[in-house]
């Protein structure tokens, strides 16, 4: 078991290295650097000015060299111009003597966000906390409802309830976040259309709308009003898939021999479902839920931009649009870690839950 986990961590490290190198390569192509220089300096820079700007800050070294600097295995680029230090490790207000020799991941320095003008770890830290909070509530909403729908549908395969719940789950998998988010905002959070004007007229809600169409305030003061719609939007897209997997697994268990035996012994249906079927039926959905987390990450990007909630996904789009290299790299490291960690947890959890499987 220990060896297995160790090997998985090795693969994880290798994947993260390859992936960040690809991101590094793509973001360090010359047209991207040119854009970076122009947003940093001014937009009417001549080509020579751009070249010297990049040269001074060490952007024109070879890509592997720059990559090693980022990892922290090579000393950071440093030059001096008119007494002001320029280079990879330079932070505003430093004198030449203060600039450290190495500044990479290994030294715990994630770089400098050229857009936010702040260290990446500070920028991304708050964003990740915001997204973590969002994801937590998504999970709280999504997992129980998906499992309940799946179990109810799967315990009597082919019944009317099964048909209607399966239709609901197909509908939810067919509705991407940007469609359901838009529909929710229009029907629940608009003061002119949908439910809100109707409810406001009857005096059932205090404000103008039932929910808020933006979650911009939810970073400081999350309330049900401004936070529920983003959570619901993400949860709905993932819910259908988990529910269908749970339904399939439940339906399979319900046809098993021991369920028939229990029925023939005279155990009533409720006890058969709760005591005999449920525990075995929930092994497969556990894996699915864990593997769904990377997918949620995708939904997070869309929903955070739709609802203007400044989290990880919002930061990703912001950084990618402005070629904020260090932030993009940190973002890809985080996402690799999330993806591979959830895979690892799902593998290990599967072994613990299912006594028929052993890692040899």
């Amino acid at each position: 078991m220990g060896l297995f986990i160790l090997r998985r961590f090795g693969v994880m490290l290798l994947t993260a290295l390859c992936l960040t190198y690809i991101v590094f390569f793509m973001t360090n192509l010359y047209p991207n650097l040119e854009k970076l220089a122009k947003t940093q300096g001014n937009f009417r820079m001549s080509d020579e000015a751009v070249a010297s700007f990049l040269e001074d800050r060490g952007y024109l070294q070879s890509t592997p060299r720059k990559y090693l600097e980022w990892v922290g295995l090579a000393p950071g680029y440093l030059t001096e111009k008119d007494g002001v230090p320029l280079g990879k490790c330079v932070r505003p207000g430093m004198t030449v003597e203060e600039v450290p020799n190495y500044c990479g991941i290994l030294q715990g320095d994630w770089g400098w966000s050229t857009v936010a003008k702040a260290p990446v770890s500070d920028v991304l830290g708050t964003r990740l906390a915001n997204t973590g909070y969002l994801m937590w509530w998504v999970m709280v909403l999504m997992v129980p409802s998906a499992l309940i729908i799946g179990v109810l549908a799967g315990m009597r395969e082919g019944s009317k309830l099964d048909r209607s719940l399966s239709t609901v789950s197909i509908l939810s998998t067919a509705t991407p976040e940007y469609v359901s988010g838009v529909i929710f905002i229009v029907f629940l959070a608009s003061s002119r259309y949908g439910l809100s004007p109707w409810l406001a007229e009857m005096g059932l809600i205090e404000g103008k709308t039932l929910f808020k169409g933006t979650a911009a305030k939810a970073m400081e003061t999350p309330t049900f009003e401004n936070f529920f719609l983003p959570v619901l939007t993400i949860a709905l897209y993932g819910m259908g898939y988990i529910a269908r997997m749970t339904r399939a697994s439940m339906a399979e268990v319900m046809t098993a021999q021991y369920i028939r035996t229990a029925r023939l012994k005279g155990v009533n249906f409720r006890n058969v479902v709760i005591k005999h079927a449920l525990r075995n039926a929930l092994i497969a959905p556990f894996t699915v839920i864990m593997l769904q987390v990377p997918w949620l990450l995708n939904g997070v990007v869309i929903v955070e931009n739709l609802f203007n909630y400044k989290g990880f996904g919002w930061q990703l789009v912001n950084a990618a649009g402005n070629n904020d290299i260090d932030v993009l790299l940190a973002v890809s490291v985080v996402s690799v870690v999330v993806v591979l960690l959830t895979q690892l947890i799902s593998d290990i959890g599967y072994v613990y839950l299912n006594p028929r499987i052993r890692i040899s």
């Binding site: 309830l161 990450l297 995708n298 869309i302």
Partner: protein, 483 residues
């Protein structure tokens, strides 16, 4: 001119009937779902002579009522459509005008269904689809959009205005607003209103379907070619090749898709031709696939194989060069006399990135299927017979994996449509005035709380197409399992 209402004078007496039937239907469905649990499943009546009559009791009656309510609802919808098609513009309001604009689609759908149902026993898996209600509904929705796209994109029917034309005074105007100062031959209304640049929403949604239909299915097909060509050997040979390819696949899968799109599709990257090089690599896979397919089948008959291979691969290679080379892009190899068509760079970029992302997942599916199927007896028989590995992969394993692959193909077109929408939503790839659904949703969402009509039609269009594909896949799965 008066603006159109939703159902016009015709609706004045049909609308109340429709809403009553709808409410009755919804109540009945709710009763049915609850009744399936609350009421006894069987109803026994013991007669005086000691025999028992058993039926399903009240549940059967509720079920029948639901069916008739549904039929009445469908009949009313057909009444609206037919009335809209055969009465002058305005009698049945916006709904009727939309139905009239879409009349070629209704006629083709009707013809397709009639022919398919008559000949369904002779049509294999496709015919079996018409045994399952879910499959038929899904197929109907998908074909609705396919016909809409084809009639709009190829024959230039259905649309009422040019999708890029801006008409003064129509900015953010609601559905059914008449145009001012129209000339002879112009369509007098914006049926679904105007967007924030005063363009016709209805025409844009219809034109958008053509973009989706031209990108999503072909891109998925390319993804399948790539996935199959790499996945079969990875699963069949295993070993180092498998380890290497799987590592690469996991690498790409660990990327958040949107970051990948941002890296591939930003204008700076497009300018140096990264998507073009990716296209060069991706588009070669169908040629490899077909060449290996034909060679493994006919290599024992060189006199047939050699001319066949040369002609087919030659033709495909020419198309390939036409596809990848375009004037002024990074790859410009073919002289313009031989170049049949140029593909606009925005289109190519979107096509390639969507195909690339999908091919990875297809690779994993095919690899898994190959691993499973290669343990079967008929594979062992073929090996004993002395067949080559490529023959076994392409002519023994692949045909036996077709069921799950066809189902996944349908699902994946839906997923590709969602991805396309995502690209449009972030304003990547396609030009900003493009009428595709994602871009239109992105355009409309800025003013969404004030004007909903520009954003809801594309959202529902995307939703229905993906839903249709999902239902179609479900129907196909059900029917292919029944074999």
């Amino acid at each position: 001119m008066e603006p159109l209402t939703w159902t016009g004078p015709f609706g004045a007496f049909v609308d109340p009937i429709f809403s009553v039937v709808l409410v009755v239907f919804l109540i009945l469905v709710a009763i049915q779902v609850v009744g399936a649990y609350a009421l006894p499943a069987v109803n026994d009546r013991i007669l005086a002579d000691g025999t028992i009559i058993r039926d399903r009791g009240p549940n059967a009656m509720i079920g029948m009522a639901v069916r008739y309510a549904l039929l009445a609802l469908l009949a009313l919808i057909v009444v609206y459509i037919v009335a809209g098609m055969f009465t002058p513009l305005g009698t049945v309001g916006i709904v009727g005008a939309l139905a009239a604009q879409l009349s070629p689609v209704w006629i083709s759908l009707l013809a397709t269904f009639l022919i398919s149902i008559v000949y369904k026993r002779k049509l294999g898996l496709y015919g079996k689809l018409f045994d399952s209600t879910v499959g038929m509904i899904g197929f109907g929705i998908v074909m609705f959009w396919v016909y809409t796209a084809v009639f709009a994109g190829v024959f230039d029917m259905i649309t009422t205005h040019d999708e890029l034309a801006q008409v003064s005074g129509m900015k953010n105007k609601g559905p059914g607003t008449p145009l001012r100062g129209i000339e002879e031959g112009d369509y007098p209304y914006y049926l679904l209103g105007g967007d924030n640049l005063a363009r016709d929403v209805f025409s844009r949604v219809v034109e958008g379907s053509w973009i989706v239909i031209t990108i999503a299915p072909p891109a998925t097909l390319f993804a399948f070619m790539v996935g199959i060509t790499l996945g079969l050997p990875a699963g069949y040979f295993g070993g180092r090749l498998d380890t290497f390819l799987s590592f690469l696949a996991n690498l790409v899968l660990a990327f958040p898709v949107i970051l990948l799109f941002y890296l591939l599709v930003t204008p700076e990257i497009v300018a140096i031709g990264v998507p073009n090089y990716l296209a060069v690599v991706l588009f070669i896979f169908p040629i490899i696939f077909v060449a290996v397919l034909l060679n493994s089948r006919f290599y024992t008959r060189p006199r047939l194989r050699t001319p066949l291979l040369i002609s087919v691969v030659g033709l495909m290679f020419w198309f390939y060069l036409c596809l990848v080379s375009a004037k002024g892009s990074a790859i410009d190899v073919l002289p313009s006399t031989l170049d049949l068509f140029d593909i606009s760079s925005g289109f190519l970029v979107v096509f390639v990135s969507v195909a690339f992302v999908n091919s990875i997942t297809v690779f994993r599916i095919v690899r898994g299927l190959a691993l499973d199927i290669q343990t079967r007896d008929y594979v062992a028989a073929a090996q004993t017979r002395g067949e080559g590995p490529w023959y076994i992969m392409l002519w023994e394993i692949l045909p036996n994996a077709r069921g799950p692959l066809i189902v996944d193909f349908c699902l994946r077109i839906g997923y590709t449509t969602i991805l396309l929408g995502t690209l449009g939503f972030f304003g990547l790839g396609l030009p900003p005035e493009s009428p595709d659904w994602g871009t239109t949703i992105n355009d409309g969402r800025k003013l969404m709380q004030l004007y909903v009509h520009p954003v809801l039609p594309p959202a529902f269009a995307l939703l229905t197409l993906v839903l249709g594909l999902n239902l179609l896949a479900d129907g196909l799965r059900e029917e292919s399992l029944r074999d």
